[in-house]
Structures are given as C-alpha cells and as structure tokens.
Symmetry: C4
C-alpha cells in the first residue's frame, strides 16, 4: 500500500466511524444521515454509500470521489444521494474538512418551522457565534433539476447574505428539510451535529416556556465563543 | 416438512421478529401492538397471538388463519383481537403484504387530537406521499358490533374518500385510537411504523414552535417521494 | 419455615421485585416510589423500607406490618413514610391487593397542574374506565398532622364523590404530589403505574396539539374497557 | 503516602466519580459540566480538568488547588475554566462541601427563559425549600473581566437578596447559562443536579398543561422539606 492508498484508507475509517457514531448518539434513524471528509491535496472526497443499513456497513464500502463528486474506482457502491450538497460546501467553504447531514429530531423541527435558532444561551455560544440560520425555500426549478446541488447553493447563498463565516457558525438548517454541519475534522463535524441538536431542543423548550425570551447579549455571546475558539481561548488543555 | 409448511414456518419467524422489533425500538409497551403477514397464494395470514408478553413469545406461537381470519390448526393460541382489522386491510389493499398496529406515543397523540399529520418536511415526504390521514370517529353501532372489522372499514373508507394509494401513503391514524401501517414486507411495515412515529414527533414539535408553519410545497414533496420510490429513484443501491 | 413464613417470604420477594421494576422502566429516580402488598388472611402488609437506595435493596429488607401499619418483627428497617397512605387504601378498597406510588414525570405534571387526565383514547380506556381523577388540595391541618394518612383519606373521598370503583379506575393523582395506582397483584399495580405514565404523556401531547380535543365517546370507552376487563372480555388468552 | 496525601487521593476519586456520574445519568454531553470538592482544613479544592473527554479521564488527572483556586503541584492539567465560580461559592457558602455545574437540558431551558423554577409540587419541596432562583443577567463589564468569578458573585448576590440559605435551596440557575448545585458531599451535590433537572422538566410540563397552575401552599412545601431535612425528619433510615 503506497502513501496515498494509506491516507485514503485512513479517511475511509474516519468517515465510517463518523457515520456509525450518528445512530449511536440518537442523531440518525434507519439510513438517514451521511458524513464525508475531503483531502484537497489528494483531490478526493470520501462519503457514505447511499441507503446501506448502518449495521451492515463496513469501512471499505465508503465511496471515494474526486473533488467534483465523480466516483473513483471500479466496483464502488453508489455514493450518498446528498453528495452534490457536500461538494458545493467543500468548493465554497475552503476552510472545512468534513460535512455531516442528519434528520435529527429537534433541528428538523426548527427547519420545518422555517425559523433560525436564536442564540439564547452559553451552550449555543460555545459553538455557534450567531443564530443558526435557516435557508429560504428552494424554488420549483431548483428542486426539479440538480436538487442536491441547489441545496448546497442555497446554504452558500445564506452564508453570503448574512455575512457568516463557516467556522464561526458550523451549521445551518435547510428549510423543510434538516441540518447540515461541518468542521475541521470528521470528529468535530459530528460533534457539531450533536451540539446543534441539543441547542435546538433547549431553544424550543425555552420558547415554549417564555415566547418573549430574548437572545443573549452580544457581549456574552462573544465571551463564550472566544473562551473556546478565540486567539486567547482558555477552555481546555493547551494542546486542544 | 413440505414446501407449504416451510413457507408458513418462515412467515411465523418473520412475524415473530417483526413483533419483537416493536418494543426494541420503543414503539410498543406491554402487549400493545401486533404484526401480521399475508401469503395470498397459500391463502394464509400469520399474526401475533393476543395478549402474550413479548418476553415469553416464541415464533411457534404465531397464529395461522385463512384469508377471512379463521384460525387454522388445532391447539392454536387466540389471534390478536385486532385481526379483523388486518383482514379488511388485506382484502381491500391487495398490494400490501404486512400490517402493523402500535400505540406509539406521538402517532397516538395526533390520533387523539383528531388531526391528520401534515407533510411538513422531507423526512415525511421520503415515505408518505401526502399528509398521513386520520379517520372519522366510529359510530356507536360500528363500535357495538364487529368493532375491529369496522376499524378496518373506516380506514378503507378514508383512503377511498381521499383517493390515496396504500403504497404511496403506507399508514393512517384511527381517531382516538392509534396508527396502522403496512408495506411490501414485514420489515417495511415495521419500518413505516418507526418513520410514522418520528414524523409525528417532528410535526408536533414544528407546530408548537410555529403554529402557522406551512406544509411543504408539492414539488418538494413529489421530489423526495420519487427520489426514493419513483420510477427513476436514485436513493440507495441499485438492488434496493 | 412454616407455611405463614413461606407466604410472607414470597410476599417480600414480590414486593422487592415490584420496587426494583420501577427504576428499570424509568418510573422512579433515586429512592422515590414504593410498592406494597397485602394478605388480609394473614393480617400483614409488606412494603419497601424508607429511603434505601434501589441498588442496595434486598428482598429481606422489605418491612412487614400488621393491617394498621404497625411494624412486626424486631430489627426491621423503618417502612416507607407513605405506609399510612397504603393502609388507608387497603382499608377502604377491600378488593385491592397491592399499592404503588411513584413520582413519574408526566403523571406528576398533571397532578401539579391540578387536572384530572381526560379519557382521550383507547390506550387510556383499555385500563381506566373513566378520567383518572385528581384529588383536592389537602388543608393546612390535614398536612400538619398525619399527613400521609390524610393523603389516603382524600383519595378515598375523591372515589366516593365521583362514585368510582377502585378496580375500574386503578389509579389517581394527588394534587401537587403525584400518582398512586393499585391492582389485584403487585405485577398489575406496577403495570398500572406504567400505563398511567404513558397515558399522561399521550394526553399532554394531545392537548398541546389540540387544546379543544374532546374526550372519547362513552361507547368507545366502554367497548375498550370491556374488551379487556368485562364479563365477555376477549382480549388475551383464555386463562389471562 | 502520608495522611494528607491519602485524603487528597480520596478527594480525587470522589470528584472523578462525581464527574463520571454526570454523563451516565444524561446530565452532561461532551465535556460540559464539572464537579469539585473542598476540604477547608487541608486548604484544598479538587476539580475536574478543563475540556478532557469523560472517556479518557482518570482520577489522577483531577486538579488540586488552594482555597483561592491557585493550582498546586507541578505537571497538573489546567483546572475547569469554571473554577473561579466554585471558589466564590465555597468562600461565601461556608456550609457547602461540593459544587456541580452542568448544562442539563431542562434546567438550561428555564435559565434561558430567565425564569425561576416555581415550587409546584412535592418532588420539588423534598429538596428545594423555595423556588429555584434565577440570577440577573451579568453586565458587560462583569463579563469582560473575571467572568467566571462574577458568575459566582451574582449567585451569592441572588441568595443575599432573596435571603435564601444554601443548604435549604441547594441550587440556582444562572441566566442565559445553566444550573449550579451544591451539597454536603459530592454525592449529594450530584444528586441535587439530577433532582433539579427532573424538577425543571416537571415544572415545564405543568406550565404547558396549565399556564395558571399555582405554586403549592407554603404549609405543604414546609411539610415535605421538613419530612426529609427538618429536625424531626422521618424519611429514610435513622442513620441517613
């Protein structure tokens, strides 16, 4: 096995583990959800195959594509049907290394409500330096042709319109659909899906208790985000 | 064992596994719920026995009946009291092969509210090509005599009135009672119960967050349903 | 061991198993909750000791009392502080054999809301032949002296006022406190706690979805209750 | 190992077990949450290290500091970033021996709503002899400098303003953040976090069912609190 092969084998294992982690923590039922990782130097994306039950999945079944999403290698399974969304995100957010999509219950509920998730507390601010946005509805023509590509486009459009940075707000809700998250590694992208789901649940409970509950002050949002992610971050051990 | 016996033994095992799967995924508590399978060529239905605790159940206890629900074979346990509902569904929906009934929490809540479950997002549309309907209330005389048969009748009536196709909308809520689902196999019918419960939970959360939330546009409903079930379905591997 | 000793040892084991079953199914956290059984011929009640952690509890620690709740046998642990409530229930409901008290989440929520649980569907009607009532608030003097006895009294008062039969409605909510259930055996009384909790959750979800949701028609309530418990019950196997 | 070393080793084990107990019962996800213990005679506090995943944590990694929160011993990991909050609580509440902080879902939801948790029933009153208060919002300058110390200060301020005693109300909500609890031991402080979360859930459900639900009468609150914690407490075994 040469070095490239070894790197791709490692990617397959990480993508496999990332996918398997989703049902374990309750973010995914049945075959809903997919995880991918990119290596821009090698020019490859590795992603879950489409519709394979988690209990039957193996690392070797992970699908390898080029940076435009064309499958590499004979005998490969079909990639996740959401691959074109991942490709668009990788092309437009050059700083991200992994993308995760789930239908987790509470994030989907906000997406179906068509609402962004407001920053109501420090649990949110520790990871999302802003509200978690919700895209506009895709148009009929956007759905009819290249639907999954257009799903990526509308995410990118939302980030541009709101002037958000992908690593400062590592996730979004696609209207009437569900969440996408990303990060600097498979592990972080999966973790961001978990945090988004918990934040969505807490925000829903908060709004049911107090429909007039206010978003947190900007200075508290900033403080918590920077405590973990700023230049002078002091949360965690030094090497984190 | 001749071929017919072997086929029936296989049915008993599938029906047993389908029933056992319900409490495992939290769809059924105590003895609530039942699963059946039909083989129209053999002229038999296999269904769970009535009121037997799941932890004591064995494949051999599954009850075999003819297509009108008359128990075949001596020494059989009594079939599920909901058998007449299953029989009516098999008679009127000739394309289905398995029926599942549960009292899963969120589907029951919609049934008790007397509301159909609106198609609010793609999780719904991937399986149900429409709202999930809710039957009318049974009348006093329908309840007094042949209650379980009339439960089947009102399901069929609802599908006729709404011009729905059983495989396009593989489930329904019976008012003040709970969900029935079906499919082309025990596995699919059970899976549809799981999906219905998740969709019911998501729709409830969505409506609590945003009481004015709109159903998804028809073109998005159509797209997602066809992505998985249409002639040009492209979700999953080829053989799926 | 003589016959009486053997019967009491058996009671201790059943009461122990009943108590241990409560945290297993999520009805009880920490040491909240207690189960007892009565044998009127022997003149004894067996109940959980007070405040002993479930993981340390043994069958032999179950406390034996006479029918007025006086502890029998030297070296016994103190009985559950709710024993006087159990005693009053046994004295006034001569048909019951076991009592269970929990602080299960959703039943407590209805008790804190001060609302009876309306009969909204067949899951309810299969066990409770009516709404599940909620007592009035205890007065200051009732709380100051013999609080636990008065808790029993107000349960009995509610059943008299509403002309309910304990085996037809095997449970109640005590206002600002929580549920008590009972039955013909420890197993049934524990099962009724489980059903009450599920019914409380379903009714809450229903009312949030549709605040105007109506109680089920009497003829459907009657049908489901009698299907399981009437003279011509046809649910379950013959010996059930 | 001398006596002091043995005492500190014991503290590390208790603090480790306390921290590990939080994700086990669902109070903590990822690395959210921290537990500490104080020994005023030895002049030490032991607390969880910052940002170490629970599955990799060992008792020996627990961080030892003096009573002002200065780390003792070379090669120590960094303490939890919330240490200054713990220090302020220990300085101002001399009767407490352990502090716990979590982001548990329902307690956080009340904190984000900015509401105190009203005393709606006996589950609450058995542990909290009053509403569970919610602090005011920290000001911009309080957040900018020594944020974690000021979090402690605002907790102390709230207890002074409301004239509450820390052992009678062993927990609080920090606005837009989450709960802190404490107690006479690590075990009790962790238990109080569990109870606070359950009480927060029950209170939320109660208010959704009945927005006008009243707090329990003072005489019932007093009775339940004293039944477990008063001079004449009669809940539990004598030695408890």
């Amino acid at each position: 096995m040469n070095k490239t092969e070894r790197l791709i084998t490692d990617m397959k294992h990480r993508v496999y583990e990332g996918n398997m982690g989703l049902p374990e923590v309750g973010l995914v039922k049945l075959t809903w959800g997919n995880v991918s990782e990119i290596n821009r130097n090698l020019g490859v994306i590795v992603i879950k195959p489409s519709g394979v039950p988690y209990e039957e999945m193996t690392p070797n079944q992970m699908v390898v594509t080029d940076l435009r999403g064309e499958v590499l290698g004979e005998g490969s399974l079909k990639p996740s049907s959401d691959l074109p969304t991942h490709v668009i995100l990788y092309q437009n957010f050059p700083e991200i290394k992994s993308v995760v999509h789930t239908h987790s219950t509470h994030a989907v509920s906000w997406a179906q409500a068509g609402y962004e998730i407001p920053a109501l507390g420090t649990t949110h601010a520790d990871t999302f330096f802003n509200e978690v946005p919700c895209t506009r509805q895709l148009s009929e023509s956007e759905v009819a042709e290249e639907y999954e590509k257009h799903t990526g486009d509308v995410i990118v459009e939302t980030f541009k319109d709101k002037q958000l940075k992908p690593l400062e707000v590592p996730g979004i809700l696609v209207k009437n659909h569900g969440p996408f998250t990303w990060g600097l590694s498979v592990e972080k992208a999966v973790e961001n899906s978990l945090i988004l789901e918990e934040v969505a649940l807490m925000a829903k409970e908060t709004r049911l208790l107090n429909p007039q509950s206010q978003v947190m002050p900007d200075y508290l949002l900033l403080k918590h985000y920077q405590r973990k992610h700023g230049e002078k971050a002091y949360y965690g051990q030094v090497s984190e």
